[in-house]
Symmetry: C2
Subunit: 527 residues, 2 copies
C-alpha cells in the first residue's frame, strides 16, 4: 500500500531541514578533498553517461538523509506502480505509460483491452515501415519525386521535445551517414511562423506531420489550414503531403486527408511524448528508424536504472532529491540547465516545459493546497554562450541558482581546429570544468567587485559523445527526475489544468463575448 | 551633485515597503474598474508602441511612492550625467555611451580627443558605404560574384543582440522589399556550431563579420580560424571574405586579413552594442543601411522619452520602478519575457543577457556588499508556444513570476488564414489578452486543481507592427529600464567582473596547470 503524504508530513524531511547549509562547497571542494569528491560522487548512467554531483552541497550525512527521504516517500515503489499501470495521473484518471514506449519495465500493462507495450511497438513499426518507403522512394509526391523535407506541425510537447531531439542528432546523423531528410517545425499560431518555414522549403518535396493527440489543438489545426492553403496554391494535393500523429479516437484518425495516421494515447502526456510516435515519426523520417530505435534503447536502459532503490545507484532519483534539498531546504528559486554542446541548444527549452509544466503545481494529489514550494523556474542556454551572457548573475548575483551542466568529450561533426595549442573541443571542455570550480569555490580578491563568493552548487552529466543512445538516456534521466520530484512533493506531475483558463478566455475574446478589462484589452489589440 | 545611496538608505523605499500587497489584482481588474485601469494605466512609447501596466499590482498610491523613489534616487539626473559623458561605469572607469550611437541626447561628449557622436556616425557611414558596395556588386568574391550571405562571428553581446534583431526583422524585410542578404551566426566554441553553419552555406558567396571589441575573445578567434581553414580548403582567400568590427586599439584594427574594419570603443558594452557597428554591420548588410537607420531612429526617440522626470510619461523608468517594487517589496525572484511574435523568438535571450549581466551584482558602486536583492532571473519564449509549456507553473505554481508581454496588431509576413471565423493574427492577439486576464483575476473552481488564484502581475507593450522603428524603441526601452534599475540598486550595470574567474581557470586547465578537483574534472573530460 502506497502512502501519498505531503512533504512536510514526512519525518525524513525534518531531519533534512536540520541540515541546511551543512556543506560549505568552498571548503569541501578545495585541495585533495575536492579531488576525492569528484572521484567518489559519481554515478553511471545509460548511454555511456555519468552523473557527477561532487559540486553539490551534499556529503555522506546529507546523502543518508536523502536516502531516508526516498525510502519514506516510497519513490521506487511509486515508480513501480506507475510502470505497472496504476492510475498515477489521478486528476485525469489516467495511467502514465511513456516509459513503455521504450521498453517493458514490469508486468504487462493491459488497458482498453490491449497490451499497451504491443500497441506502442506496433505504432513504431508502422512508422518505421512508412519512413522506409519514403526513403526508398516508394511513397513520393504526385510527380514521383522523393520527399526531401519533413515538417512537424505541433505545439508544446508535440514541438519542443521532437525539435530538441532533432537538433541534438542532426550533426551526428550527417557525420555518420544516417541523415535522410531535413526536418523543420511549425508551432506558433503567429502566422509569421508558418510563413517563414514555408518560404524556406520546397513544399512540393515536403511531407508534413500533423501532431495533435486530441485532434483539436487550435494552433495546430490553424497551421494545418495554413499549410494546406500553401499546398493548394502550389497546385499540390494536401492529402499526398500529410500524415497525422494522433489518438485513435481523434477526428484526424480516420481522415482521408492524410497519407497515414500513427497513434498515441491518453497515457502519454505531451511533454513525455518524444519517445512515442510524436517524436518517432519526424525522427524516423529524418534519421531512419534504426537511429530512433537506438534513441529508445538509451532511454529504456536509463528507465531500468531508475528502478534501483539504492540512492547512489539511481542517478535520476539522486538528482531529484538533491533538487528537493536545494528547493525546499536551501530555498533556491530556480535551476539553470547548461549543456556544453551546441547540439543541445533547445534541450533547455524542452526541460523547461517538462519540469515547469509537470511540477508547477500548488495542490497535492488530493487537490489540497500544499504549504511548501514545488517546481522551480527552469532556464538555460548552451555553454560557452551563456558564459558571455547571464553567468554574471550566476557568479555574483544576490540569488543562488543551482546549475545542471552537460558535457561531452568529443564533438559530433568531426571538424575541429587547433589554435593556441588546443582544439575547440578541448576549450569547450576546459570551460565547463573551470566553471564548475569557479562556482563552487569562488575566489577572494582585494577588490570586492572582483571577488567571487563561491558556494554555488552544480552537477554535471558527462559522456563521450552525444549519440542516439546518450540522448535517450539524457531525456529519460530528466523525465524520471521530474517524476521522482513530483512524488516527493506529492503533486500530480502528469496533468496541466493551469493551461485551461487562458484557452477559455481566448475563445470568449474571439467570439466577442467579453466585458470589463478583457474587452478593453481586446479593443487595444484591435480584435 | 548626485547622491549614490543604497536602496535601503532611501527614505521613499521605506514608504514603498509599507505598501506590500497593497493592490489585489483580482479586485481592481474586475468589472468596470478593470476596464478603466486598462485605459488609464497606459503610456506612449516611440515606434508607435504603448506600455500598458494596468495588470501590475499598482494604484495611484503605489505610483506616487514610486515617483518619490525616482526623485530621491535622482534617476533622470543620473541618466543625464550618463549621456553627458560622466564616468558612470566606475568599475572600469569608463563613460557609457551606447545611447550616443543613435542620437545626441545632451551636450557634445568629447573623449580621447574626439567628439564621440561624430565618431559613431562616421563608423555607421563607413558601414553603410561598404554595405552599399556589397549590394551593388562593387565588392565581390574573387570570381566577381555577389555575396549572398553574411555570417557574424561573435559571442555574448556580439551575438545575442544582433541575432535577435536580425530574426526580428527578417520577415518584415522580405515582405517590404528590404531583404538584401541572408545572415547566419557562429558563436559557440563548440566546433559543431561553426561546422553546422558552414555546411549550410555557400562559403564562396559568404562574407564573414568578425566581432570582438578587444580582438582577444577566445571563442571568436577560434571560430575565425575555423572559418579561415574552411575558406582555404575551398580554395578561397580569407582576406577577401572577412571584415572586422573591433576597437581602434585592437590587434584586428589594422590587419590586412580583412576587407575592412569598423570601430566601436570601450564606452559601449557588448550587451549594449546592437546599435553600434556590432549590430550595424550585419544588419546593414542584411537589410540595407536605411533600415538600420530607421531602427536607430526608433531607439533614439525612446531614449528621449527616458529623459522625462515625470514618472507617468517615462515608460522605461516606470517599468524599472515597478520591477524594483516586485523584486524588493513583493519578493518575486524572476521575470518572464513573453513576446507574442515569432519574430521575437530570440529577444528574451538577448534581454536575459542585458538584464542579468548588467544587474546580477552583489556589491554597490563603491564595492560594498548590498543587503537587498538586485537583478532577477530573466527567461522567456514566444507566445503562444509558452502557453503549451511553462505557463502551467506561471498560473498555478507556488512562486509568483511577474510577466512582460509584447504584442502586435499585425503580422509581418502578410500571409494569414481564417479558420473558425478568425485569422491566426486575431487568435494570437486574443490569446495574449486572455492570458493577461487569466493571470490577473484567476478563477475559482469547485475542484481546487482547476482553480486559479490569480494575483499574478503583468504588463504589455503593444504596437501595430514590428517595424525597424518599433524594434529600436523596444530595445532602447529595455536598455533604459535596466539602467534605471541599476541606479535604484546603486550597482554598476556596465561592468561584468563575474565572467573573469571562469576564463582564468579555463586557461589553467588548457595549460594543464591544475590540481585538486579541477584536475579531477579535467581528467574526467579527457582534457
Amino acid at each position: 500500500m502506497l502512502n501519498w503524504n505531503n512533504l512536510n508530513q514526512v519525518k525524513a524531511f525534518e531531519k533534512l531541514q536540520a541540515l541546511r547549509d551543512h556543506v560549505r562547497l568552498q571548503d569541501v571542494m578545495a585541495g585533495e578533498q575536492g579531488a576525492e569528491r569528484v572521484k567518489k560522487y559519481s554515478v553511471p548512467m545509460a548511454g555511456g553517461l555519468t552523473y557527477n554531483f561532487a559540486a553539490k552541497q551534499v556529503d555522506d550525512e546529507v546523502l543518508e538523509a536523502l536516502g531516508k527521504l526516498a525510502e519514506e516517500t516510497q519513490l521506487t515503489e511509486k515508480y513501480e506502480a506507475l510502470y505497472n499501470g496504476e492510475v498515477i495521473n489521478t486528476g485525469e484518471k489516467r495511467l502514465v505509460l511513456h516509459q513503455l514506449t521504450r521498453g517493458q519495465l514490469g508486468a504487462p500493462v493491459v488497458a482498453d483491452g490491449t497490451d499497451k507495450r504491443s500497441f506502442y511497438v506496433g505504432e513504431q513499426e508502422k512508422v518505421a515501415a512508412f519512413a522506409r518507403k519514403v526513403h526508398a522512394g516508394e511513397i513520393t509526391n504526385a510527380e514521383g519525386q522523393k520527399f526531401t523535407t519533413v515538417v512537424q506541425i505541433g505545439i508544446g510537447g508535440s514541438d519542443l521535445g521532437p525539435r530538441a531531439m532533432y537538433l541534438a542528432l542532426e550533426n551526428w546523423a550527417k557525420q555518420n551517414g544516417q541523415f535522410r531528410m531535413e526536418a523543420r517545425f511549425i508551432s506558433n499560431v503567429d502566422p509569421d511562423d508558418a510563413a517563414s518555414v514555408l518560404k524556406s522549403i520546397d513544399v512540393s518535396r515536403s511531407l508534413f506531420v500533423l501532431v495533435s493527440k486530441s485532434g483539436t489543438t487550435l494552433e495546430t489545426l490553424t497551421n494545418e489550414s495554413f499549410v494546406k492553403n500553401a499546398l493548394k496554391q502550389a497546385g499540390l494535393d494536401p492529402a499526398r503531403h500529410m500524415v497525422a500523429v494522433t489518438s485513435e479516437t481523434s477526428p484526424l484518425a480516420k481522415s482521408s486527408d492524410y497519407l497515414a495516421a500513427f497513434f498515441m494515447d491518453d497515457y502519454i502526456g505531451g511533454r513525455y511524448s518524444s519517445t512515442s510516435c510524436v517524436g518517432g515519426a519526424v525522427l524516423s523520417l529524418a534519421f531512419g528508424p534504426e537511429v530512433f530505435a537506438r534513441f529508445l534503447q538509451g532511454a529504456h536502459e536509463e528507465d531500468e536504472l531508475a528502478k534501483n532503490p539504492e540512492l547512489l545507484k539511481n542517478p535520476a532519483m539522486l538528482d531529484a532529491l538533491i533538487g528537493v534539498y536545494e528547493r525546499n531546504v536551501q530555498g533556491y528559486p530556480a535551476t539553470a540547465v547548461l549543456p556544453y554542446s551546441q547540439a543541445l541548444s533547445r534541450f533547455p527549452a524542452h526541460l523547461q516545459q517538462l519540469d515547469m509544466e509537470s511540477n508547477g503545481k500548488s495542490v497535492n494529489r488530493y487537490g489540497e493546497p500544499v504549504d511548501y514550494v514545488t517546481g522551480p523556474v527552469i532556464f538555460g542556454e548552451p555553454g560557452t554562450n551563456g558564459q558571455h551572457s547571464f553567468y554574471q548573475l550566476l557568479h555574483q548575483g544576490t540569488d543562488i541558482v543551482p546549475l545542471q551542466f552537460v558535457g561531452f568529450r568529443e564533438n559530433q561533426a568531426g571538424m575541429d581546429v587547433e589554435i593556441q595549442g588546443s582544439t575547440s573541443q578541448k576549450k569547450l571542455c576546459a570551460n565547463v570544468a573551470a566553471q564548475i570550480m569557479a562556482f563552487a569555490c569562488g575566489k577572494k580578491d582585494e577588490n570586492p567587485n572582483k571577488s567571487f563568493a563561491g558556494g554555488r552548487p552544480s552537477s554535471i552529466i558527462i559522456g563521450d559523445q552525444l549519440t542516439p543512445e546518450a540522448l535517450g538516456a539524457l531525456l529519460a534521466h530528466f523525465e524520471n527526475k521530474v517524476m521522482f520530484q513530483g512524488f516527493v512533493w506529492n503533486v500530480n506531475s502528469f496533468d496541466q489544468e493551469g493551461v485551461q483558463l487562458g484557452k477559455v478566455l481566448a475563445k470568449r475574446v474571439l467570439a466577442h463575448e467579453t466585458d470589463g478589462a478583457l474587452k478593453s484589452y481586446s479593443d487595444l489589440l484591435n480584435i
